[in-house]
């Protein structure tokens, strides 16, 4: 389906380590990693996204969180939030 295709396309980008789709409760719906790691990512990032969103909205109620990028030494975690779901992609940006 389209869903598959989109996810596949994202996954095939250069340097992408993992892709995950989390629902509004923080439960992973679709993932390319193993279960335990996914669950860990989901729990932590879900909370962080909620916190970030509330921070943005607190500062300006008209605003909303569109994208969250966490850059670490080893790779970059990108979170795209939405009303019901969360798309998490982990990429290794080094060439």
């Amino acid at each position: 389906a389209e869903v598959e295709e989109t996810l596949k396309r994202i996954q095939s980008h250069k340097g992408v380590i993992a892709t995950m789709v989390i629902n509004a409760e923080g439960i992973p719906v679709r993932t390319t990693l193993d279960n335990s790691t996914t669950v860990q990512y989901a729990g932590l990032l879900h909370q962080l996204t909620t916190k970030a969103r509330s921070a943005v909205r607190d500062l300006d109620p008209q605003n909303d969180l569109t994208f969250l990028r966490i850059r670490s030494k080893k790779h970059e975690i990108m979170v795209a939030p939405d009303k019901e779901y969360l798309l998490i992609v982990v990429q290794n940006p080094c060439e």
């Binding site: 396309r9 994202i10 679709r30």
Partner: protein, 773 residues
């Protein structure tokens, strides 16, 4: 009991005969009946076995007296209703005392008396004083008793009488005046006699080792509650449902654009790249370390095997770290060798295995039929070693039995200990062989391994084999000279070249581990320490393919000294740098295992004896004109070096960069650049004799010279002269081999003409590549 009492059963008949009828003639009170002996005997004779006296017949016959006492045993004290008293004394005792008792006692006590009578069988005898019989106990008593051995010293002390009772005056003394505030009589060791304690009674008790220890974990958060949880997960059906829901689709469509932008941004450039930081690293590496050099780590030599011999080839063991193998060769030239008819003067050529822990004793000795010019470990099975001999033969060894021993070599000074330890480690199957081998040798002798396959002399090269390589997997030649794919993961083929203008491809006979095939009959048939893996191939091993290198126009032949295969994706090629190559393969069609691969490029680079580098193709084609198999055309020929090429090696980092060393120059070539080398050094003072690329830094290579120096060339620093040179030994360097044992330890094995193997440690700057090198 009473030995004189014999219980008897009296039948009524007997009782009538003897007038001792129960309760009539004899009663409880009057229980004694004297019966004449003769009557009894008479009765016994008449009634024989029926007689009640029969059981005690013997006693009656022996009875000394005239009358026997029979006592009525109303209470069945002895088991029967009568008993016979068998001795006179007892009779008297029984008769007399009861009578006396009866006389003395009253009638009231008659019952008691009767009881006493019945109870008392033995008359009371007061103890008779017997003389004391010594049983030996007085000796013990004497031993244990304490007697005074020395006479007591008597002292007599006397004093003048007037001193008794005299008035005494007391004085005060200040304690602090006295030294140490106290007086004492110090003890001192009396030298006049000292008792030497020869024996000491000590009590020893085994106590179990017990130790009590108490620990306490740190209780960082003093809370007495803990939660254990597991995450909520969706079941598979729920996942499927949500995947197909429309909401997810919407979400993804709205989100994926953002995500892709972000991903692409990362791909384009690394926004967080710290340029300053990268600069500092380069600085530190080139920041003038004057002591960039090779540290001497160890040097191996063996006086026994290496006398007057030079080392021809050095190879590190691919899997076992710290093991290095060295092959030796005589230094005599050909004519001298021919003239030397007495072969016994020539030493047995060997390959020695050294371990870095034990520099004086070789770990393993491989016997060679002839001097070995070059050898290689098989990349897939490091226990198989192929070597090329000076007479053109190719030899195989199998050291799988000794793998364990080599792995288990520990840095122990004592050589015997090593063998002892390894004896335990050897499996049962190999035990027979190893025990046999080490019997008769002291522990310091390394085990000797004979070659297990030797090629046939006629089919081998005619001149010394100068280069030998294993072809890695994925390729196999068959007799039809079509390369086909080999699905097995093992290296099965060898390529050798020799100055007799030919390159031979050898098929590795199927090697099975020797431990499986150890049969009884084979063990006895041949020397024990040779694995019976390819015995049948001894001296009849033939090469598969032979390629003669001919020059294009003049039909003269080349004499290759070194060869180097190439390897590229999508085509079959091999490289002569051991390890770390992966093959990419495109298969044209695939239906069976053995396929003829059309898209094979079979280029090869040959360095010849005359200093030519020939770039040619070894695929054999049928020459349509003469209808015989002619090896194809070669494409290029370069004559740059003036002398024999002694090194031809591909860079481990770039597949198409080749280093060639010969004579007084070296050159770096790039495949595809056909008009010459991309770098050609100027003539140096001495001759270059050996060279190798560094394994870790792409721009560094090592060259050995004939004066014992090693030149380290760092192409990033200077391209016109060596960045460093260092003297290693006095004689010519014959072979260089770099190796990495651990991420911090990089070694360079350098062998020289005197037969000494130096292992040098490459310092950090030479081994760590800088950024983007």
């Amino acid at each position: 009991g009473h030995p004189e009492i014999f219980p008897l059963v009296f039948t009524t008949k007997t009782q009538e005969i003897f007038n001792c009828r129960a309760d009539e003639d004899v009663t409880e009170e009057n229980c004694f009946k004297l019966i004449k002996k003769e009557d009894i005997i008479q009765d016994m004779k008449t009634r024989a076995t029926v007689s009640d006296f029969h059981p005690v017949k013997k006693i009656i016959l022996e009875y000394p007296g005239e009358e026997l006492l029979v006592v009525f045993d109303a209470k069945f004290q002895y088991g029967q209703n009568f008993y016979l008293v068998a001795s006179e004394e007892a009779k008297e005792d029984l008769l007399k005392p009861p009578e006396t008792v009866e006389e003395k006692k009253d009638d009231d006590e008659k019952e008691e008396e009767s009881e006493e009578e019945t109870l008392e069988v033995q008359p009371y005898k007061p103890p008779v004083h017997k003389p004391w019989v010594s049983l030996g106990s007085e000796k013990e008593v004497e031993e244990e008793s304490v007697k005074e051995t020395i006479t007591k010293i008597k002292y007599r002390i006397s004093r003048v009488r007037r001193k008794f009772g005299a008035p005494i005056t007391f004085t005060d003394k200040n304690a602090s005046h006295v030294k140490d505030s106290y007086l004492e009589c110090t003890s001192y060791q009396d030298k006049s006699f000292s008792i030497k304690m020869l024996e000491k009674d000590v009590g020893i008790q085994m106590v179990p080792k017990l130790r009590e220890a108490i620990t306490q974990t740190t209780w960082t958060y003093p809370r007495n509650a803990a939660t254990q949880y597991f995450p909520i997960e969706l079941s598979n059906e729920e996942k499927e449902e949500s995947l197909s829901s429309g909401k997810l689709k919407e979400f993804l469509t709205s989100v994926h654009l953002r995500m892709e932008i972000a991903l692409q941004q990362n791909e384009i450039m690394n926004a967080f790249f710290d340029d300053w930081k990268a600069l500092t690293e380069e600085e530190s590496s080139s920041g003038g370390k004057p002591h960039v050099y090779l540290k001497a780590y160890q040097s191996f030599t063996d006086l026994h095997y290496f006398k007057d011999r030079t080392i021809s080839c050095v190879c590190w063991h691919p899997t076992i770290s710290g093991i290095i193998a060295v092959s030796t060769r005589g230094q005599l030239s050909y004519e001298e060798r021919v003239n030397l008819s007495d072969k016994s003067l020539l030493q047995q050529p060997v390959i020695l295995f050294w371990c870095s822990f034990d520099p004086t004793h070789p770990q393993l000795v491989l016997e060679c039929p002839e001097d070995i010019c070059c050898f290689q470990f098989s990349p897939s099975d490091p226990s198989i070693i192929a070597g090329g001999c000076i007479n053109g033969q190719v030899v195989l060894w199998d050291i799988s039995q000794h793998e364990e021993k080599l792995q288990n070599v520990k840095p122990v000074a004592d050589g015997t200990e090593i063998t002892a330890v390894n004896m335990v480690n050897v499996s049962i199957l190999n035990k027979l062989q190893c025990i046999y081998m080490s019997v008769g040798k002291n522990g310091t002798e390394p085990p000797l391994v004979r070659c297990c396959a030797v090629s046939s002399i006629q089919d081998s090269h005619e001149k010394p084999v100068t280069d030998i390589h294993w072809l890695p997997d994925y390729s196999e030649d068959n007799q039809m000279d079509a390369t086909s794919e080999n699905r097995a993961e093992t290296s099965v083929q060898l390529v050798t070249c020799s100055p007799d203008c030919s390159i031979l491809f050898w098929d590795n006979p199927a090697m099975k581990p020797s431990s499986e095939k150890l049969k009884e009959e084979d063990v006895f048939g041949m020397p024990i320490d040779v694995p019976d893996t390819s015995k049948h191939l001894d001296l009849c091993w033939k090469p598969l393919v032979q390629i003669n290198l001919c020059e294009n126009d003049t039909n003269a032949e080349y004499s290759p000294v070194r060869i180097s295969f190439r390897e590229l994706h999508c085509q079959y090629k091999t490289s002569d740098v051991p390890a770390k190559q992966s093959l990419y393969r495109e298969r044209s069609t695939s239906s069976k295992n053995v396929k003829v691969l059309e898209s094979i490029s079979t280029d090869l680079l040959v360095g010849t004896e005359d200093g030519d580098i020939v770039y040619s193709d070894w695929k054999v084609e049928i020459d349509s004109d003469s209808e015989k198999q002619v090896s194809q055309k070669h494409t290029q020929k370069y004559t740059i070096h003036t002398e024999t090429i002694n090194t031809l090696q591909r860079s481990p980092f770039f597949k198409d960069i080749i280093l060639s060393i010969g004579g007084q120059t070296f050159a770096i070539w790039k495949e595809g650049v056909t008009n010459g080398p991309i770098l050609h050094s100027s003539c140096s003072a001495g001759r270059y004799t050996a060279g190798k690329w560094s394994l870790t830094r792409p721009g560094v290579f090592f060259i050995g010279r004939d004066d014992g120096n090693i030149d380290i060339w760092d192409l990033l620093k200077k391209t016109y002269e060596p960045s460093q040179f260092q003297n290693i030994s006095e004689s010519m360097i014959t072979f260089i081999s770099p190796w990495i044992t651990s991420p911090n330890q990089h070694f360079l094995a350098v062998s020289d003409d005197l037969g000494i193997l130096h292992v040098l440690e490459i310092c950090q700057t030479l081994s760590q590549p800088s950024e983007n090198e």
